[in-house]
Structure formats: structure tokens, C-alpha cells
């Protein structure tokens, strides 16, 4: 339902051009969840914001980028060529593609009630006004597990706890009836017990509604339990894709391997953690060649620091960008 190819995004800044996303491609199928994992500066949020055309004014999407979305009507929309103020774009945001952010307090207006904000969405995208709109809003709040929705609908965001707010945020996004839901670190700000509740809820809703979902997170533990497919990003490029099992069980890229090893797990208490050496470079000082080579223990001198590794296909939907696989394939 969504295919992204060659997505390159750059920002004009006072210090020159910065390109936080370079040649990214992924796709999402109906009813499946694509998990995008990456650390800070990997470009995971920027690339999904481009899908909603929510990037700030100094951002530029490269001309060769293709973002194709198949709408509910079956019509194919070229997201990259929509005019910024087009009706189609307004319909796309929310109506076709819903979005949930990390900080629900920042996504709700503090001066309107939760119900007001959900009803506005319902009016715009479903054309339901008055009583009917309110009933649907209460219904949505009920669906996301908010107790006593009749009363909650008239409360302001600050009256709700963190977990409740995130549920209300999900209700808001779903009330427009999107086919694709983008969730950007939706549980990062929540406590583990609440995170477990929200993850459970999201998986359940997705199953019931048959939505496609893009789930952005830095937490591989969360990925293991929500994602069908995974794309690992590092400094603006996707270094590895595959099913969640393939990527987590047999990671092909040294970065993914390092990331998995660096996660503290409770089962081996005495073993020392294996850190990925070095720091994440800033996107404005991206290393030449493979962006990971300065931190990579397996880097091949003269190759990894010079040439950008090509994307190597290892299987169906299983791709990696690493010279180690390239050289193996040639030899």
C-alpha cells in the first residue's frame, strides 16, 4: 500500500546543506507492521514526516524520490508531487495516514477538550457532526480502553495521566479511519507497565482494523514484539531490512549486530556489555563511504572508507548495505 524509493531529504541551514536522509526505500503492506529502528540522528523520524509532507520550510525532498500510496479508493497517490495546500494532501493527512507522536501532551491542544479535538477530526474526515460525532468520539475512547469515556470526552488533556493521554492520542488518530498508521516512538515516554498496555492495545487494534503500520523506535525489545518487518537505519540510510525474526536472530550488518549486543539483558548479569565503539557522527559530518565504517570492527581499509556499499539482496525482502556481503557475493 505504500512504497518509498530513493528518498533523500536535505535541509538548508546556516552551516550549509545537511542531508539527514539519503536514498531511503521501504514499503508497507496492508495489515503488516514495519518497524524502523535507529538511534538519534538516523533519520527515522524525518523520513516518515516526509510521508505526511510535514517537513519544515527549509527541507528539500530530492527530485528522484518516489512515495506511492494506494488510497482507500484504490487510487494511487504520488505523495511527493502533491501541492502543499492541496485538498488531496489534507485528506491524506489523518484520513489516509494517521500519525501518533512520542509526546502526547505536545500533540493535543491544551485549550480544547479531548472530545472537541477528536470530534473535529471526525467532522473533517468523516463528515459526522453533533450528536453522531460525539457518539463516535466516545466510542473511540472506549475502544482504546479509556474507562468512563462519557466523562473523559469532556476533559482537557492535562486532566489525563500520561498513559491515558497516549491512548487518547491513538483514539484521535484512529477516529479519522486511516489505512496506514505511523507511530513515532509512541511508548518511549511511558513506564514499562503502561508501555506493555499500549503495545497490546496497538497490536489488537491493528489486527481488528487491518491497518498497515510504521512503528518507529530505538528499542529493539519493542520491535521484537510489534513488528513484522524491520528496517534498521544508521545516519540516514537503511543498512538492513528483513523480517523481525531474520534481523534480530541473524543480523547481517555489523551495526545491527553491535546494537543487539549492546542491549543490556537480564539473563547474563555478570557478562560485560559489548559497546559499539565511538560516537554517532552528526549528520552534517557523515563519514565518506559506509557511514558506519569508523565504528565498525570489520571495516575493510581502502574500501569501506571510500565507497558507499551497494544494497545486496540476501533473500525475499532481505537486504543489507555492507561491503562484507558485497565482497562475499563477488568471490
Amino acid at each position: 500500500m505504500l512504497t518509498v524509493e530513493n528518498l533523500t531529504i536535505s535541509f538548508r541551514t546556516d552551516e550549509g546543506r545537511v542531508t539527514p536522509v539519503q536514498g531511503v526505500g521501504f514499503s508497507v503492506a496492508e495489515g503488516r507492521t514495519l518497524g524502523i529502528v535507529g538511534e538519534s540522528g538516523s533519520g527515522k523520524s524525518v523520513s516518515t514526516k516526509a510521508l505526511m509532507r510535514l517537513l519544515p520550510g527549509n527541507a528539500e525532498i530530492a527530485r528522484e524520490a518516489r512515495m506511492r500510496y494506494t488510497a482507500k479508493s484504490g487510487e494511487e497517490i504520488a505523495i511527493e508531487s502533491l501541492k502543499p495546500n492541496a485538498r488531496a494532501l489534507r485528506h491524506l493527512r489523518g484520513g489516509e495516514i494517521g500519525m501518533i507522536f512520542q509526546e502526547p501532551m505536545a500533540s493535543f491542544s491544551p485549550v480544547y477538550t479531548i472530545g472537541n479535538q477528536i470530534m473535529e477530526t471526525i467532522r473533517l474526515h468523516r463528515g459526522l457532526k453533533g450528536r453522531a460525532g460525539r457518539d463516535l468520539a466516545v466510542d473511540m475512547l472506549d475502544k482504546v480502553g479509556i474507562s468512563n469515556p462519557d466523562a473523559r470526552v469532556d476533559q482537557y488533556p492535562h486532566e489525563l495521566s500520561g498513559g491515558m493521554r497516549q491512548r487518547a492520542m491513538i483514539a484521535l488518530a484512529l477516529s479519522a479511519g486511516p489505512r496506514l498508521l505511523i507511530a513515532d516512538e509512541p511508548t518511549t515516554a511511558l513506564d514499562v507497565t503502561i508501555q506493555a498496555q499500549v503495545l497490546d492495545l496497538m497490536r489488537g487494534l491493528q489486527r481488528d482494523l487491518g491497518m498497515g503500520m510504521i512503528f518507529i523506535t530505538h528499542d529493539l525489545g519493542v520491535i521484537a514484539h510489534v513488528a513484522d518487518d524491520v528496517a534498521v537505519m544508521y545516519l540516514g540510510t537503511i543498512v538492513e531490512t528483513g523480517t523481525a525474526r531474520e534481523v534480530l536472530k541473524s543480523p547481517a550488518h555489523p551495526y545491527t549486530r553491535g546494537l543487539i549486543k549492546a542491549i543490556p539483558r537480564a539473563d547474563r548479569l555478570d557478562a560485560r556489555l559489548e559497546a559499539v565503539p565511538g560516537d554517532i557522527p552528526s549528520p552534517s559530518a557523515r563519514p565518506a563511504g559506509c557511514p558506519f565504517h569508523p565504528r565498525c570492527a570489520e571495516a575493510i581499509a581502502g574500501l569501506c572508507d571510500r565507497e558507499t556499499p551497494p544494497e545486496v539482496t540476501l533473500g525475499v525482502g532481505r537486504r543489507v548495505r555492507c561491503h562484507l556481503h558485497g565482497t562475499r557475493a563477488v568471490a
Binding site: 538519534s40 523481525a244 525474526r245 534480530l248 549492546a262 537480564a266 547474563r268 556489555l273 559499539v276
Partner: protein, 353 residues
Amino acid sequence: MIPDKSPLLEIRDLEVSFDLGKRGFFSGRRKQLKAVDGVTFDIRRGETVGLVGESGSGKTTVGRAILRVISPSGGQVLLHGEGAPLDLVPLGPKALRPLRPRMSLVFQDPYSSLNPRMTVRDIIAEPLVVAGLMRDRESIDARVRAIAARCKLDLEHLRRFPHAFSGGQRQRICIARALVAGPDFVVCDESVSALDVSIQAEIINLLKDLQEETGTSFLFIAHDLNVVARISHRVAVIYVGRFAEYAPTESLFFHPRHPYTHALLSAVPEPDPDLPFRPERLQGEIPNPADAPPGCRFHTRCPFARPRCALDVPVWRELASDHFVACHYAEEFDFRRSREPAGTTPAKEREIP
């Protein structure tokens, strides 16, 4: 280093209250919020104690009360040293001053905790200067360089300003600053939570190494259980201002006795799709400490709660050697978690008669 058994800090019935202002116009009573309510535990020399809890549970307040950044409203904080232990609670700012170099704090956000107008060298040297431990420039410089090298900072960087550094490097600067005066005790308040996973591992390893070299005791406050497990000798679990459980890391993680600890552990998703993810279903969210439930504070969310739990406050007791718990029915639960395969195997609950 295996911490020896002698305590560095003994915390007895620690209480911290915050004033919420008058309840109503005519009521003369002021409403109080007890953020920490009767916490008792000890921290040994050279030991790292982990403190975990959800947001609003009072974990930061415990750390700050021990450091006397804030004033406890009750209890004792006994600091052992040469001679008789010293209770920090009744001490005023002046009396605390000479003790300050013995204790320090590493914050969560390495971006907001470094003064952008000071060079890294001056930032690290500040505790020495403030405490008046050293006066001449040469010896301060020598000390700063020594601690910076231990924290794996490039000595060339000491002349630079903090803005030039990444999150991981900044956190190393914060750690160097905390350790420069050679403290006995350091509170790390969510000190690795803001860092990326690949950087976080390095900081955890660094803290472990530094402890081995210096024998400093740490109170490591975090919400991430797996991080705490990796760094702590013993772990305490706090829930709405009271400790639920305190035990050596192994026992707490593999044989928790409190239903809340069990629920917390089961809610951590492990990065392995083959492991079943079956978090214990907890009802609702952590209660507001200003309106804490009576009896056991966890009874409103506890899947095993019985009538008594709503009435009696459970006693903080030593269930097994070194394993403290506050639950009326702790003996009846068997939340043993298996080690292989790793992670969250569902706990078996014994029949409750």
C-alpha cells in the same frame, strides 16, 4: 570488586513531604504530599545499589534526600566514616558543607547539566575549587587530567566548551566532575537513560570500571530494569514512596517475591521474537502520591490483592537472608523466572488457599 559488608550509608524510616499549599480557603490544614514514606535500607562500601520504579514513585526524591539536596521530614541517614556514624538529616547547610565532597550526583540530561560558558577543564575542576580542597593551579590541573583520563576523555578536549561534544562524551564529563573530589558516594539519577543504546553500554562499562578502581558506592536510579541489573549489586524497587522489595540483583531478577516486582519484570520486552511477551496485566496506572491508597499501596493494581491488603500496611521484613520485601503474602508467591531461554517466561502462581 566485591563490596565488603560494612555499610557506608544506613537509611532508616526516611520520609520526605512536600507542601501542597492550603487545602481550601477556610481550612487551616495544609495538604502534604509524602513523596517518600518510611524507606529503610543500607548501601555498603564499594557497592552499587539500583533503584527502580515508575515515574512518580519517588526514586529521585530518595536520592536527593540522602544527598541532602532536599530536607527529609523524618528518619535518619547515617553516614559512616571514621568514628561514630553521622546522621545527615538534622544537619544544616553549614554543617553539611565539609561533607559535600564525599557525595555527588550525576544527572540524566548531559545537555542541560554542563555550563556552556565553562571549559571542560573548569567544569571538572569546579567541585575541587568550591570545596577548597586544592588551591594551586598545578595540582588542580593534575587531578583534572588524571580523572579525565580515567573517564576516557581526550586530554586535548579539556580546553574546549561542552557544545562541541556528543551526548556520550558529555556524560563522561559529568562523571569526571562527580568523581574528581574522590567521593565515597555518588547518586546517578537516570544517568544513561538519555543516551543511545550503543553509547549507553559504554557508559555502564565505564562506571563499573571506575567503581572497581575507586571503591566508590553508587545509588543508580533508573527506570530501565535491564540497565539496573547490569550495574547493580543489589536492587531496590520503589512504588509510590515505599520500597516494595530490596535484594541482591540475582535474587530480585530471578526470584522476585513481590507481585509488583514480578509485574515490572514481565513488562520488559526482550529483543527476541521467539520469547513470549506476556506482561502481567496491571490495572490502571501508578496512583498519585498525594492521594495514595491506604494499606498496601499496590493493592489497587495488584492481581493477587486480598481484603487485608486494603487495610494493613505491609511490614518491611527480611524474608530471606538479605532479601527484604513489603508484602503480606510474599511467602505464597513463586515468581521464579527461568534463565534459559532468557527473559520472560510466565511465572507460575501457586494456589492460594
